[in-house]
Structure formats: structure tokens, C-alpha cells
Point group: C2
DNA sequence: TTGCCGTGACTGAACGGCGATTCATTCGGC
DNA sequence: GCCGAATGAATCGCCGTTCAGTCACGGCAA
């Protein structure tokens, strides 16, 4: 018998004064709390070495509670990706729509992707490392969000080619994959290394310079 | 876990240092056979989903035999990586030593790394995916072979900067990480995708073009 | 207002399967 | 016969998942 009672409801942070009276709904912020805890735990130990009980503990819920919100441990990881990648894609699409100049779009793409991870070392670690933990997840994603992502990058390149801003002797798809890899690799080494906020920012700027010149037409 | 490594003199391959006459009677090429089997199995199912018994079966040995050559399942992956990366590093160093022209060295680097994987889809998969499976392995490697590798790449860049062949407004280290990422990402998508022999070759050529121009000085 | 239910979110100890590792035994060359 | 290599069935600890209970809350009747 544990003595201490768990704080039921999210109202621990009492700010919810006049909020929903329907407090006991399962749709609390519990799900999000679990996801956040999962990021921390997965980042620290990796998916397979992480115990469901650790996530539960970090989230401040009981082990069983996790299964009220997710089907399985796998599902936690999967949902995490789904959720975070979705956000990233939306942000990218919105931002890129505002910028017509191809070189500037490439720069924006790079800055956005790295900028979103900067200051979120743990998330960066989960995304760059754990994505590859389960082949299943990767293969599955390989045909959904991930490809969608690559597609977005490739379109930035091919648009630039069509308008004559970029050389056209390169496959947009290959270029996109390489760019994705470059960003991913940078994020990975950063996450495993110092992981200091701001570190990625400078790298982003340099990388943009490099790619823009690399893509420039011969003239 | 285990820090000590038995170097069980699997003299099948490496005619490296101190080529000992094959005096070991029973120490066949078993070690190498196990490693080869591990590549197949890991590539197919991923490290964590692979069973030691499966590797044993694929290698044509008993489960217990694996523990005569390796400390643990982890050690199999680690040894695999150690072994294969070593070969790659040696090949790269040898080849790069022959080539003095900086742009050509970059091209060579790219062609070699991708060329070695081309036609070895399974190995590519293990290296690009499974390397990230255990954070432990990755972190540990992060300070050994992996850094050695990045160092090599960075030196190609900084040498070119010193001689004035490359622009010097980029950090050689950042550039190296990005290049590594680009190669890794290309290999990854290739391995997960069609994985056809020859596919990487064309990509390598394009990537080289891109990077060489990206690194070129303002001119 | 008070007290009594019904509901269902939440809990966490216990279960059960699984698979890495072990080790008593066998094998085969010298 | 001796010795080390090889075997593979048995072990055993671990951890994802379950589920029988707990209890907070809101509703409702008196």
C-alpha cells in the first residue's frame, strides 16, 4: 500500500480554474504527458532498453495507465513520431509557402528543420536514433510521412530547377535524400555530442551556404 | 558490459599484422561465418528482433557455439561493426593517399564509401540502421572509429581549404558531419528501397558534383 | 444541503512467455 | 585416453501486459 496519493487530474497546476468541469475525462493531458515522458526516457536509453514502467514513472502515472492511452509500447513510439512529424511537416509547408525564391527556400528548409530541433536535444535524439530502432516502424514510415517529407524536399529542388535557379543535371530525388541525410547526420552528431542550444544554428547557416552553391547552375 | 575483447585470431580473413601460421586446428572460419550470418539476420529483422538461435542456425552452428567466439549478442553486433568499419577505413586511407587533388579526393571519398556498399545491401542495412539500435554502441563508437572516420573526412576538407581549392568560410567539421550524413542517408534510403546494384553508383557521381561545387571558392 | 450511488479512470501487483545464456555432455583429432 | 571444441536442452530473470480492485466525482433524491 503506497501512502502517497497520486494527484488525480491535471489540475495539479491549478491554473485550470474555470476550465472544463468534465475533469475526469480520459482526454486529459495525460496522453501528452506520457508522450513527453517517453521522449525523455527513449532519448536517454533507447527504445528497447526503456521500460514501460520507467515511462510511467516519468509521466507520473501507473504502469497500467499507459495502456489506456496506447495499445502497446510500440504504439507509444509510433504515436510519438506521428505526432511530432506531423507538426514539423505542417510548419515546413506553411513557411515554405511564403517564400518564392528557390535558394531562399533551401535555406529556409535547412534552418527550419535544424531550428526546430535546436534546444530540443531529446527530441532530436529520439527522431534521429529511435526512428531506426524498429525496422517495422521505419519501413512503415518509409512509405508514409517519411516519403512525404522527402517529397517536399525534392519539390523544392525541382521547382528551382524548373525556374532555372538550380542546375538540372542532378536528380531532385537523390538530392533530397542527400539533403535529408545531411540534416539528419548533423542533428545526430549534435545530439550525441554537446547538444548545446544554438549549436545547430550556426551549422544550419553554413550548410545552407554549401547547398545553395552546390545547386547553383554553372553560369 | 563486457569491456574485454577476446581476439580469437579468426585468421580466415585479415592477413593483417603478424600473420600467424594457421596453427589453430578447430578455430575454423567459424567466427567469420557467424559474422556473415549475423549480417543477414540483422538486416532482415533488425538487431532486437533477431534471435541468437537464428544467427546460429544461419551460420550452421549450435547456439552455444556463438558464445565461444563472442561475449554476448551485443558483442556480435559490435564486432561486426568494428570489423567492417576497420576495412573501410583502411581502404579509404589507402586510396586517398594516392590522390592529391582536393576535389578529386572528395569525389573519391564519396565513390568509395558508396561503392563499397553497392552490391551489399544487407551490410548497408546493418551499418546504417542497426548501428543506431543500441545507444550504448553508438555512444561508445561515437568516440572511436566513428570519430576517426569523421576526422578523415574533415581532413580532406581542411586540406583543400588550406591549399585554396575550397572555400574557407565553412567549418571542416560541420562539413564532414553533413557529408557523412548525406552518404548515410543515401545508403539508407537505397537499402530500404530498391537496393539494386548500381543504383548507388549514379547517385555517388551526382553527389560528388554537388559537393565539389558547394565547396568551391567564390571564384 | 447532505448523503448515497453508479460510473469509469486509474492503480500496481502478479502473471506468463520468451529468449539470452549456461553447462553437462558428446565428439573427434592426436 | 586426453583435451579442447562444439552441442543444444534447460534455466531463470526480466518486463510487457493484464485485470481485479480502488476511489474520486458528479448526479440525484430526500
Amino acid at each position: 500500500m503506497t501512502e502517497r496519493r497520486f494527484i488525480r487530474r491535471g489540475e495539479a497546476g491549478a491554473s485550470e480554474r474555470g476550465a472544463k468541469p468534465s475533469s475526469r475525462k480520459r482526454t486529459d493531458d495525460k496522453r501528452e504527458r506520457i508522450l513527453r515522458a517517453a521522449v525523455k526516457v527513449f532519448a536517454k536509453k533507447g527504445f528497447y532498453a526503456s521500460r514501460v514502467s520507467e515511462i510511467a514513472k516519468a509521466a507520473g502515472v501507473a504502469d497500467g495507465t499507459i495502456y489506456l492511452y496506447f495499445d502497446s509500447k510500440d504504439d507509444v513510439l509510433e504515436s510519438l513520431f506521428e505526432d511530432r512529424t506531423e507538426r514539423l511537416l505542417i510548419a515546413l509547408r506553411t513557411e515554405l509557402a511564403k517564400e518564392p525564391d528557390p535558394p531562399a527556400r533551401v535555406r529556409r528548409l535547412i534552418e527550419l528543420q535544424l531550428g526546430l530541433l535546436d534546444g530540443q536535444r531529446e527530441l532530436a535524439e529520439v527522431i534521429t536514433i529511435n526512428l531506426r530502432q524498429s525496422t517495422r516502424l521505419l519501413r512503415q514510415y518509409g512509405s508514409k510521412r517519411f516519403l512525404e517529407y522527402l517529397e517536399l524536399m525534392a519539390s523544392v529542388v525541382s521547382d528551382g530547377q524548373k525556374s532555372g535557379h538550380f542546375r538540372d543535371d542532378l536528380s531532385a530525388r537523390v538530392t533530397a535524400r542527400a539533403l535529408f541525410g545531411a540534416l539528419d547526420g548533423l542533428a545526430l552528431t549534435w545530439a550525441l555530442g554537446d547538444g548545446r542550444t544554438g549549436g545547430l544554428e550556426k551549422a544550419a547557416s553554413q550548410l545552407a551556404e554549401l547547398w545553395i552553391r552546390g545547386l547553383s547552375p554553372k553560369g
